[in-house]
Structures are given as C-alpha cells and as structure tokens.
Assembly symmetry: C2
Homo-oligomer: 84 residues x 2
C-alpha cells in the first residue's frame, strides 16, 4: 500500500524557501506569481492490507519522526492506482 504524508509549515511560520522561489520567479519575469509555499511529501510503501491500521501507524510515524509539531501540519492520504 502506498501512503503519502504531506508536511507543510503551519500558518504564520516563515517559509524562506518559498519566499525566495517567489522572488526568483518574479525576477525571471513571472510577475503573476503572488505567493509560493513549499511542502514536502514522503511516499511510503507499507506492507499492509488494512487501510485504517496503516493510517494509525503512519500517524505515529509523523509524531515520532516525520513532522515537527511546533512548526508543521501534516496530511495523510492513501495513494490510489490512478493518483500515481
């Protein structure tokens, strides 16, 4: 089973990578770009046939390793065959 964990910065946390990407795009002439936010996704391949159980396990992975609760929000989504 493939599960995507998307890690984004909480509202209000500075996002220098996004900010600089926006500046660079504007300098390249893309003046319609008003904001850029960065996100990171872990695509996990997990041996499990029980979606509910896998989700609970991935929640635990987020708390223990993947996300920093001070600055990050995370989203867990199961990858369906068509999403890949």
């Amino acid at each position: 089973m493939e599960i995507d964990v998307t890690i984004k910065l909480k509202q209000g946390v500075a996002d220098p990578e996004g900010e600089n990407t926006k500046k660079a795009l504007n300098l390249l002439g893309f003046r319609t770009v008003h904001d850029v936010k960065m996100m990171k996704t872990f695509r996990l391949v997990i041996e499990s046939h029980d979606e509910e159980k896998a989700r609970i396990e991935v929640e635990e992975m987020c708390r223990k390793l993947l996300a920093n609760p001070v600055i990050h929000d995370y989203e867990i989504s199961v990858v369906r065959a068509g999403d890949r």
Copy 2:
C-alpha cells in the same frame, strides 16, 4: 488561482533522503515500511483566470527554475477548493 507543482526524482536517481527516512523508521520499529520516496511541492498562487494559460506559464517556470530536467520529473495540478 492555486497551482501545485510536484517535483519528484526520476526513476533510478538515488534518493538518499528517502533512503535514510526508511532506515530511521525501520529502526524506530516500523518494520512494515518497505520504501520511502521524497517529493517536493511548490504551491503557487497565481493571478490568472485562464487555467490553460496558467498551466503553460507554470510549465515554463518548471523548465526555467523549479525542476532540473536531468534528475526531476514534475507534475502540475490546479488546486480545487476541496483539495486544500
């Protein structure tokens, strides 16, 4: 309009960040994790009402700045209100 650009490594390109995340998860006791791949997403806020035109512009941003064609594949998707 919000557009997500997802940058992933091409098949066969080494992904040390994903590899090390996998190792760390296994060491933490999550032994069902068989593989981890990293992806990066730029969420762009663009002033545009023409989806087709915006997509073409974002394609150009990918070629000029956001992706490295030697190692990256990219996907462009318009963010609908429900996806946020």
